[in-house]
Symmetry: D2
Subunit: 355 residues, 4 copies
């Protein structure tokens, strides 16, 4: 039995898109999982993955992946574990379908994030939420659905979690400067963004997500103001954040809370977990997407330029790799957490029956 055969097979929904490609790349040398099935749009179905995907990354398309035949949406899948990089509309339809069929769907789509039945999971912050899949309507069939947050939200909550835990959050304001890879491919036309800033993403939809997801993840209630912008950066969302705390804290206390932050993935040594999920850079001009986005293989959220603020208590800058920690890596880490918690060891017969 080869290495490839010993690993847990994984299906990817939306495998040819920008986030799907990041998943394919991350699975190439994954110690637990192997990319076994690719699902994409009808237009791609039937082609080899290597033909169907317009490969965007600066590493080469893994040879084994290139040879997979792309399956059509809704096609029966062998893999119990399904990673979803679908757009919202398609996720609305396919994710419950596969969960119903007994698959464990680990999704990056926004559709079900705020659904009270669905864990909105950041393993460093609320790993216990994963357990809730046992109570989902798809549990009797062995299926389930977990989601990871919006790409900016991952960065925001990673910085807020230690502050909420240590001091409590009274109010937060965030202004994002988001990379074009967040819009997928073809995404943002170059004529719209070269030498430009666009003060809107999704006609307000992005702001609504950012304003509501953090409270669910942090299980806390605080007002959050947010303005989003698109900037001519390829990878890496930069966020100017202002934070008012419930308990007065010095900049030094805030810094210590941020820098020491660690969680379940680090204790469990999950394969995709960075050594440091949150790293403080003690410089006014950092973090920067060009120089810090690859920290921890794109899984470390960077915080820098921490300073006092006259209205809030502190302000600082956060950087998150939007297609890794903010999307593909987030989903993969969620899948690893489920595996480590024994939630993947499900009745295979159920899957068979579901067809």
């Amino acid at each position: 039995m080869s290495d490839r055969e010993r690993k847990t097979p994984v299906a990817i929904l939306g495998a040819t898109g920008a986030v799907g490609q990041r998943l394919v790349q991350a699975l190439e040398s994954h110690p637990w999982f192997v990319f076994a099935e690719a699902v994409a749009s009808e237009r791609s179905a039937g082609k080899r993955y290597g033909e169907a995907a317009h490969w965007l990354l600066d590493s080469e398309l893994p040879a084994a992946a290139a040879e997979l035949a792309v399956l059509s949406p809704g096609a029966p899948l062998q893999s119990r574990l399904v990673l979803s990089a679908l757009d919202t509309a398609t996720a609305a339809e396919l994710e419950p379908l596969y969960a119903e069929r007994g698959h464990l769907v680990v999704s990056n789509a926004s559709k079900f994030r705020m659904d009270p039945r669905v864990p909105l999971l950041v393993p460093e912050i609320n790993p216990h939420a994963a357990e809730r899949i046992r109570e989902q309507p798809w549990a009797p069939q062995g299926g389930g659905l977990v989601t990871n947050p919006n790409c900016s939200v991952v960065g925001i909550v990673m910085a807020l979690a230690p502050l909420q835990q240590t001091f409590g959050l009274a109010a937060v304001t965030c202004v994002t400067m988001q990379a074009v890879s967040g819009a997928g491919y073809p995404g943002v036309p170059s004529l719209d963004i070269l030498g430009n800033v666009i003060p809107d993403i999704g006609g307000g939809g992005e702001e609504a997500k950012i304003a509501s997801e953090p409270q669910k993840i942090l299980e806390a209630d605080f007002p959050l103001s947010v303005a989003v912008n698109r900037v001519p950066v390829v990878d890496g969302h930069t966020i100017s954040m202002f934070v008012k705390l419930r308990r007065r804290a010095s900049l030094d206390e805030i810094r210590r809370a941020l820098d020491g932050f660690t969680g379940e993935p680090q204790r469990l040594k999950l394969p995709t977990a960075p050594e440091r999920p949150l790293q403080v850079i003690d410089r006014a001009d950092r973090p920067q997407p060009l120089r810090d986005v690859r920290r921890g293989n794109g899984m470390t959220v960077s915080v820098g330029n921490l300073r006092a603020d006259p209205v809030y208590d502190a302000r600082f800058t956060v950087l998150v790799h939007n297609t890794v920690r903010g999307a593909a890596g987030a989903a993969l880490l969620n899948a690893e957490l489920l595996a480590a918690k024994g939630l993947l060891a499900a009745p295979v017969e159920v899957v068979a029956e579901a067809r």
Copy 2:
């Protein structure tokens, strides 16, 4: 007597820099003023202006300007009106020197902006402040000094002024995304900014200016939080703003207050005054530097994406042409205001005596 001879001669301090060039460009076809004397660093002194200036603009260097001999710092000047595009350190030395010699110095430098004796002037907002030059220590010699605000501040106060006048300001938060032309030439190295965002300008100095100048201009007291960023844009500072008002107002009332804003320069029809100093664009994805920065020949501040905010009352995006309305055009408009108010008609003999 030629047209050129009938106009008021103007000297430019720091004439070869990025802002100096914008002044030279703006003066080319100015109906009242003519660019008569160029002062630059010792390195440029003695050269023709056309040789000394590394011309950065996409219009051609005016032919008459190219032939001017560059004077050294502190050289005696014939023109009573002196426009200063100096850096802070040189301004600290030269601006009082020329004011002392009886020149009216209209400065873009930050050095004396917060000096209580010096008007920090935005003609649409506080034109009356210009009168204070009569009480300056240099008044007996016929000299004076007025300044315009920081490039981001011009955009910020233009949007805040009608809100302060109509509703009162309770608290403001601003996050800037600033163009590279704001750093002058050579300024920001391309290796630092291509495909990047830098969350700092001047090691905090820029934030300090933005946090304090608006209150002086608006003659109001309110807390202002600010975070600055540099983005890969050539011209145009984009600013995400959050505003809490003293008096409750609907979005529609706010919109009307912003859109109707006009001031003294429009009433006086000053040559550099745009028809609309502030223009509301009713679109979520505007303003954008690429598409809106040239409105009103770079003198119109644009506001768009106005929406309600859960913590503040409203948030919106502001765009200001940083080297025109935020620098050269601001200084020029100040000079025009002084001229229109009769403050330029000074005893020429004083100037002569000063040498």
Copy 3:
């Protein structure tokens, strides 16, 4: 009768696209023509032009244009003069249709450029070619079709014409670095071009056009090697050119031939004609798109960095504004030439009959 009514009405095919918008912009204050009819795809038909067009330019959409109702492809037109900014496939169908109906079609599309019946017109170079519309199959109905070259070709032939006329061309090599606006909208995805160079445009189609159109325009036979690249520039194609001449010439003779070049549009003082169709900039680091593309309102082709070459005789850099002189302005200048030559004064009844 208003000014608008006294001018010649003009229809634009493909009015909502990137080149169509440049035409709309150029017609706003045109002394002879007025934008009277807009034709666009079925998706836009029935809407107001202001709604249908995603306006890309940094000037405001002209108010009168915004109110025009967009007509569907093939709709009957009142205007005899029809400017076409269609893509190739649609041009193949619609341009002969309108010519057949008695319209004079002045096209920017590539479809019929190499058709021996169709003039490929650059008014400074081969104005006489316009006469050939009298012999076109659509002449009996009063119709006709003229085209302008590919956007890079306009720059290339403008520099080659004086060299061909004075010394003869033996061989030419061109490498283009083309702006993204050349691909229209949405065109090039930002993920493909931010911080990148793409060594291909249209899978070789662009190179084929550039290798064949110049010889037709210059009525000369010489080998032309060409390689094309897309670069992250908004407007302005930069071209590195190497030229071998039939008659030996010094760099100085070459410079003089280039700089003195002028043609029929300048003699006729056509409204869109720049004072200088070709301008030599005597600097090694020029022309540059950022600084030179607006010369002559985008109608001047710039040449610079002229130097000797060991294999060829000389090499230099050419810059052409691809959507102005290379597209919309080229078509408009062609229309003006036809008007000045009296070729627009056609039997209006023919048009009426065609419906």
Copy 4:
């Protein structure tokens, strides 16, 4: 004895610059060499390397390197092997000085490349040239000097070498589109290159290097025309190349010659040698800096878009990582070749005596 102690110590001249940093990065986990001594300008001397270097790379500054004390130019060095990332002027002075003192100087500077006594070394192409250091004037002291080519030239000769070996070269034309990292730091001002192309590098100096170095490396005589351009790309020089061969060859033969190319570093399995020094990508739109520059850890030169040419025999696009294969990696590979050839095993006492 630690790993660090067992490795050959290496000194870096110009260690704080852009290329010096790439050397520091490459040496971090080098199996043979260890970064032991840093030499930089007087301004940096005495500081810790971590303070003195404005770290530009997206990996973290190696901790051991950060602690090294920076030495001043001309300071005595313990390491026999000296890697030089100096600018030309400083190289002119320091490189012979250290060679004279018995050091083996492996230089990236241009100063001595065309010196007939000095090997201009590309290990895949002319490894035998390394032997010539035995005949250098510094040989009696145990010293020597080898250089690597200009950053664009490495890409050019890697593609030309198999063609010269198989078919002979008759004429070559190259147009480069060079990344900003090639100009070092601070290098190209962002105001000069954002959204721009500059058709010149070093006032013609770059073209002179590219036109002469390939013939020395390839030991062949052929005319080479070259035009250089700077484009807004961070890393990776893209080159449009046209090649005329002495012996007629089909595109397929040319492709095979290119793709099969390999050399001494691959046979010797030198640590920095990529598996494939030259890789053909069979796509019209490749190579691209954004997607291909990291192939072979930046040591693989990519060739793509191979096609027939009417004047030459073939044209294609070459991509080289300018600060890795074109600079730091080139020098390091040269040092490894010297080590593998036993040319590093020199009398240490000579070094001692030299002080």
